[in-house]
């Protein structure tokens, strides 16, 4: 097995010194080797293969690997590398201090470090020689943003989906790599700016979500009419909510939705926004329905199709 790993991924990397390295040396060595493995084949396929030798796709051990029976510093290091690679490849936030000491501030909640607010990380992304790791870290930042916005800011989610590719990045293609890193940073900053402007105008998250929905996309200039309408819509939706003790059901949602949509139509007409709320394929209606349903249910739901049980009114 050692031989196979050497032939497939390590090639001429000198593994003899792993035993006896200090923690810091091991960390640096792991990051360096990970970068080399990512550079071997397109899309980091070598790393994918390597991880596959040690674990299943759900991060559980692949017990049939004979190395698990061995106890040695080298095998421990194999696993350390596999874990690190696993995080990178599955876009899972990890402790950034592993990448470089001082990058992360939240050891327990690493996703909080993967933001553009983390200036040291942004600088690292721009300057590090480990470009393949950098592109995957940028990917993790984007995925962490998705975590934050999915189910909360529909327009932002679509903004990311339209501006940052969701397909795999070819780690060997330098132009693709660099443009992806740049693009991700730009998009996250644009969203942060947009939301900050919303907060400066005194909007809460929900009102921003509705303002974006009424407009149809983000970023926009927070037109007065739309901001005013968004506030009114939020109030109307809030006022019609049944008491928290009422059991939520799809039928109940239909009963809730009907008058709210009528109020909405009045508000929209009053501000002359030209939104036809009976047009169920319109993007605004999609966003609004999704928001209302989540609001009614009191939690976010996976795979909610706003047209399920949609009633003409």
């Amino acid at each position: 097995m050692h031989q196979l790993l050497k032939e497939q991924v390590f090639m001429d990397v000198d593994l003899s010194k792993v035993d006896g390295m200090s923690d810091e040396e091991r960390r640096q060595f792991t990051v360096k080797v990970a970068e080399e493995i990512l550079r071997q084949r397109h899309y980091g396929d070598s790393m994918d293969w390597y991880i596959g030798q040690f674990m299943h796709s759900d991060h559980s051990r692949r017990e049939e690997n004979p190395l698990y029976a061995e106890e040695s510093a080298l095998v421990d290091w194999y696993l350390e590398l596999a874990d690190f690679g696993f995080n990178l490849m599955t876009h899972a936030p990890f402790d950034l201090n592993y990448l470089e000491p001082g990058l992360g501030a939240h050891e327990d909640e690493p996703q909080k470090d993967f933001t553009t607010g983390n200036q040291r990380l942004v600088d690292w992304l721009r300057t590090t020689p480990h470009r393949c790791i950098a592109v995957l870290v940028a990917r993790i930042m984007l995925e962490a943003e998705y975590e934050r916005v999915v189910g909360h800011f529909d327009a932002v989610q679509d903004y990311y989906a339209e501006h940052c590719t969701s397909s795999l990045i070819d780690t060997l293609d330098e132009a693709e790599r660099e443009s992806y890193i740049k693009q991700v940073l730009e998009c996250i900053n644009a969203v942060a700016d947009h939301q900050q402007r919303g907060r400066d105008l005194g909007l809460n998250d929900e009102e921003m979500r509705v303002a974006d929905a009424l407009w149809g996309w983000m970023p926009h200039d927070y037109d007065e009419d739309y901001v005013a309408a968004a506030k009114e819509v939020c109030q109307a939706a809030e006022a019609s909510l049944p008491a928290p003790t009422v059991i939520r059901s799809r039928n109940g949602f239909a009963i809730y939705q009907k008058p709210v949509m009528q109020q909405l139509q009045e508000i929209v007409n009053h501000h002359d926004l030209n939104i036809d709320l009976t047009d169920r394929y319109n993007i605004t209606i999609g966003y609004i329905s999704e928001w209302l349903f989540a609001k009614y249910m009191g939690k976010e739901l996976d795979n909610y199709d706003p047209l399920d049980g949609y009633q003409e009114f």
């Binding site: 899309y43 994918d48 796709s57 990917r139 990311y160």
Partner: protein, 336 residues
């Protein structure tokens, strides 16, 4: 093993919007109504100031998103006609052509849907308020650039032309394009004026010499009766003269009023008159007007007839010679 999946994907609403653009393209991109409305908008703009200088025009567009939208949309209008006619020449067979056109349109809509503003495309309805709002959003958008707008108009026009060709409605535009290559048969009126044409000329000249003309004319010194005679002569000698004569001498149905109304309407659009269609129609039909005391029934009859004529006047845009009249009036400012 492949562990590199991702939860990054657009919302369901956005996917649905995209599908609707594709599936409902025949309806969403058949925008003849929009073109007409925009034409009307620009005409109104030019009515207040017939010949603005380019700098004035464009500084006006910076302030007025609606006029700018109309201008840019019409500027791109029918520009991509040649692309569609190329396709028609490559694929002469109808079935093959249609599937090719649809394939092409699918790709273009794909590109179109990537533009932010396309998310609002399906809010356009056949009325004036929706496109005005759309125009405001389009130029309000801090993220758009002139290149993106240009791209937007080019794409809309191309998809519109493809849609027309798919629906088989492209004739109206293609005939104009074909005129350059095919030889147009000379209208018989241009070689030997026949009796009909003389009659028609005489009647039209008399019609325009009536008293109502001066009453509503915007410039009596300019639109003299000689000017009107020359207008009638030129109109009958133009490419459209034949059609007017045919309408005028139609034996099964008297279309004289319709033709007269249409000509008055075109002249009005060209700036010769500035009065409501109805009051003009009434003055044309009943020159004595209110001086004459009439009975109740007679009054109702008069109202009805005036209304009919005014509706003929209001149909000026449907006339084939509409632009010809606009150009002629512009080219003949006064008596030489």
């Amino acid at each position: 093993m492949d562990i590199r999946n991702s939860n990054s994907q657009p919302t369901l609403s956005s996917q649905r919007r995209y599908e609707r653009l594709q599936v409902d393209a025949d309806r969403l991109f058949d925008i003849g109504w929009l073109i007409e409305r925009l034409m009307h908008e620009l005409r109104q703009m030019l009515a207040t100031e017939p010949a603005p200088s380019p700098s004035r025009l464009f500084s006006g567009f910076r302030r007025n998103a609606e006029q700018r939208f109309a201008w840019e949309m019409l500027h791109a209008h029918t520009k991509s006609l040649s692309k569609v006619s190329d396709l028609q020449q490559i694929f002469p067979e109808r079935d093959q052509l249609i599937s090719k056109l649809q394939e092409e349109r699918e790709q273009q809509i794909d590109l179109f849907s990537q533009l932010m503003i396309s998310k609002r495309w399906d809010t356009l309805r056949d009325d004036d308020s929706t496109w005005r709002r759309f125009a405001h959003m389009m130029y309000n958008l801090s993220a758009t650039t002139p290149e993106m707008n240009e791209r937007f108009f080019a794409l809309v026009d191309y998809i519109y032309m493809l849609t027309l060709a798919i629906l088989g409605k492209e004739k109206q535009y293609f005939q104009e394009a074909d005129n350059d290559t095919t030889t147009v048969p000379l209208p018989p009126t241009s070689t030997a004026p026949n009796l009909d044409s003389i009659d028609v000329r005489a009647e039209l000249k008399l019609f325009l010499r009536e008293a109502w003309f001066d009453k509503f004319s915007t410039d009596r010194k300019r639109f003299t009766s000689e000017w009107r005679d020359r207008f009638v002569n030129a109109l009958i000698e133009s490419d459209y003269g034949e059609a007017i004569i045919v309408d005028f001498t139609n034996e099964t149905r008297d279309k004289r009023q319709i033709v007269k109304g249409a000509i008055v309407g075109c002249l009005k659009a060209a700036g010769v008159f500035a009065e409501s269609d109805l009051s003009m129609a009434r003055a044309i039909l009943y020159p004595q007007g209110s001086k004459q005391a009439v009975g109740h029934e007679e009054e109702a009859e008069r109202k009805k007839k005036s209304k009919t004529l005014s509706s003929y006047i209001g149909r000026e845009k449907k006339q084939k010679y509409y632009y010809w009249v606009l150009e002629w009036v512009e080219a003949h400012p006064s008596e030489d």
